[in-house]
Amino acid sequence: MTGLLRPSFFEGQILGAGDLNAHVTYDRLGAALHERTEHLWGVAAGLALVEIQRTTAAGERYVDVQLMPGRAVDRLGRVIVLTEVRDLEPALLTDQIAAPVAGELYPVYVQVIEVPRTGETRPGKCATTQATQPTQIEEALQISFGPSGSEIPILDQAAAPVADGLGAPALFDKILVGWVAWSPPLGKFARVETSSEGRRVRYIGVVASEVVAPGGALGLRTRPAGARFAVTLAETSTGGCELSFGKQDGDSPVTAVLTVDDKGNLAIKGTLSPPPAAQVLAESGVAFDGVRLPLPAGVSEDQVSQGKLRIHALVSPVPVMPRTIVFDTGAADLAFPLVVRCVLEDRRVRCQIRWFNHNDSSIFVDLPGACTYVLTASGK
């Protein structure tokens, strides 16, 4: 038998407890397999730790901690539901953690625990033994604490495979709901944390190769409500579509910093780094001999040295008129200019002008000069 067994009844059949339990088991297994194969286990809603500030008679501060109502699904696909606020007892932590120290963060877990209950009304009950038989199973929730770091293997647990059926509950089928810090001198909780060393509470997920929106708009949001970030994909009233990312406050429209429309037009409010090949940044001006040409605004030396950008530069000497020049001999005389060099060496301008004595071209002096330049940087 490799498939599920669905109970089937016929008219006049006498039903035993096994027949009825088989029906319940069939539904439980279907729900559990749905959770394990189509979702990722974790907290679905609520189950947040809330701290209530307290002060001792001596003025020392501590907190009482409560677990808020909520719902979660564990790695076996079992649903954990808490319908009322539950207090976290400090004594429970000291029972489970040998010597809690200040500064450590202790993970807080919830776990399914099945508690048999006896029904209050049972028509036809007569035997004493039958009167004490449980007729309900409470799918209760148990709170526990763990040593610091024990949440790492808990968070890494994979869902039980389909072949395990309902699975065999184990000690580690826990769900992390937060962390508490301890105050040893007071024997109380010091505070609540929602993360520890980069680790956070694991929330439920979806396993899907395709997500389809029923009404032309799809959204991914970082939080259920309040200030959050969102990626939305929505059809427009003009028959197009727009993908956008940005901040969103509650149900207000997303303040997009990135959008892509159905024609492929990309609009961003930040910068692209490195610039795409199509983008060319340019710088121009006048530079004197010896100066290194500056890079365009938004381009760094690192980008150039790492070969992420291609630099092109063009230099052209600034024209100069004949003028009086003091030659190396100390004599001053009218001289005519001739550009003998105007090049870049590692983006440094080398521009030299040879000034010839107007009476004797064998007498000359080389002096630095200026050039105009255009420098462009483009992505590779």
């Binding site: 001006g285 006048v286 530079a287 004197f288 010896g290 605004a297 190396d328 080398r350 630095p368 200026a370």
Partner: protein, 216 residues
């Protein structure tokens, strides 16, 4: 015309002016100015000599970098042709030298007319460099000299108040080869910068004791 004009000046004298321009630079703090200087100059600013010899380098740490108010068209063109004839200063000009790289907008001013007439290597041990000006330099004005391969000579040169000559004594380990050329840059407040290659006298004219006299 560039939208912004920058000048690089030699710190002690505000006299070496290198021009360049670029846009969209937002410089408000010293670190940004240093970054700009590093971008424009790198480790050192090469000063070309008047002959085809190697350029003389001034370390970036010896340079200042300032935003300069756009000059007039005529001044701009003149400054591009002869930048060493300009200096950067505040407007109005303060009685003391302005602080370069302080982010305050400067203006370009022409240097005064007390130009260098001659630069020559002088006989003797240690070697000396004699700078001859058009007129005698005023008292209290520091003059400096950069000799190739050496840090700037920043001390006061020996000076006769009535003389137009400023004599700089080079370090004792500087050896001068006859007829060889050496790069020299001269700075003095208000005076045009002079960067030139100076040829040492022929062997016969050097009076170094170990150097034999040539000819009768």
């Amino acid at each position: 015309m560039p939208s912004a004009l920058y000048a690089i000046s030699y710190r002690p004298t505000c006299s070496v002016v290198a021009l360049c321009s670029f846009e969209n630079q937002d410089l408000v703090d010293p670190a940004a100015w240093d970054q700009l200087l590093a971008a424009l100059v790198g480790a050192a600013l090469p000063i070309s000599m008047s002959t085809s010899g190697a350029a003389l380098e001034i370390a970036a740490s010896e340079l200042g970098c300032d935003l300069v108010k756009d000059p007039s068209r005529q001044d701009f063109e003149t400054a591009l042709a002869e930048p060493y004839r300009f200096r950067v200063t505040l407007d109005p000009e303060p009685p003391t030298l302005p602080i370069l790289g302080d982010g305050k907008e400067k203006v370009l001013r022409k240097a005064n007319k007390n130009a260098v007439k001659a630069i020559a290597l002088v006989d003797g041990t240690p070697a000396q460099v004699k700078v001859t000006l058009a007129t005698a330099p005023p008292d209290g004005v520091a003059a400096r000299l950069v000799f190739e391969g050496r840090d700037p000579v920043s001390k006061e040169p020996s000076r006769d108040p009535a003389s137009k000559d400023l004599v700089f004594t080079l370090p004792a380990d500087v050896s001068i080869n006859p007829s060889a050329s050496y790069g020299v840059v001269f700075f003095m407040e208000g005076t045009p910068v002079e960067a030139r290659s100076v040829k040492a006298p022929a062997a016969a004219k050097l009076s170094t004791p170990s150097m034999p006299k040539a000819g009768p």
